[in-house]
């Protein structure tokens, strides 16, 4: 059975996010969207700035874990839709690497679910990130 794929090669485009939002205008039971976006931050380390993050994953296991996170969220909150996209490969500073899009009838459940989902994505999914510094050296984030 083919597992659903939540990974996008490289950055997630703001235009894509706008299109995803527009795509939900036909769902008339939705009253609230909660969206979380992870953006690559120019942290400083030993006087050097981060220029990009390279994401790698155990993709098959990660996709299963994300499907589980979705199932758990639908079981816990009355959600209408839940879409998750995560970058793999190189994403530069200022670009977006994570897009969590929760839609529900009402605001409370959309925001509560989003917080839980973002925490779960951070801790329970087999993804790793390597900061690529301005001098091309690398730093694994753990």
């Amino acid at each position: 059975m083919a597992e659903k794929n939540y990974f996008i090669d490289g950055k997630i485009e703001p235009v894509f996010i706008g299109e995803q939002i527009a795509g939900h205008s036909k769902k008339h039971s939705i009253g609230a969207h909660a969206i979380f976006l992870g953006q690559v931050r120019a942290d400083e380390l030993d006087g050097k700035k981060v220029e990009a993050i390279e994401y790698s994953a155990y993709e098959e296991m990660a996709n299963k874990a994300i499907s589980k996170i979705r199932e758990d969220a639908f079981a816990k909150w009355p959600l209408t839709c839940l879409h998750i996209y995560h970058s793999k490969g190189v994403v530069k500073v200022g670009e977006i690497s994570l897009f969590v899009f929760v839609s529900a009838g009402h605001r409370t459940e959309s925001m509560e679910a989003m917080q839980q989902i973002v925490e779960d994505l951070k801790h329970n999914v087999s993804i790793w990130k390597k900061e690529i510094m301005e001098d091309a050296s690398a730093n694994w984030v753990e």
Binding site: E60, K64, K122, N124, S126
Partner: protein
């Protein structure tokens, strides 16, 4: 008996490879000792095993065809 080993994140950088096949490891404790012998620096790393994509906490016996992933702490987002 063939066990497929997958290396991820910083541990892949340490071993210099993404995967390898091992013979004659009876379980994950045995595998850990084998890896520590080959890459002594691995002792300084925090990692967990997943056997056939299932995270394990204690020693797990391994059988032919098993896939073991050596995984540093996750860092999604």
């Amino acid at each position: 008996m063939h066990i497929k080993i997958l290396f991820f994140g910083s541990i892949g950088a340490l071993t210099g490879k993404n995967e390898m096949v091992l013979d004659g490891v009876s379980g994950t404790d045995d595998l850990k000792n084998h890896l520590f012998k080959t890459w002594p620096d691995l002792k300084n790393y925090t990692f967990r095993f997943a056997v056939n994509q299932e995270l394990i906490e204690e020693n797990r016996a391994l059988k032919d065809g098993d896939v073991v992933a050596i995984m540093p702490p996750f860092a999604g987002g």
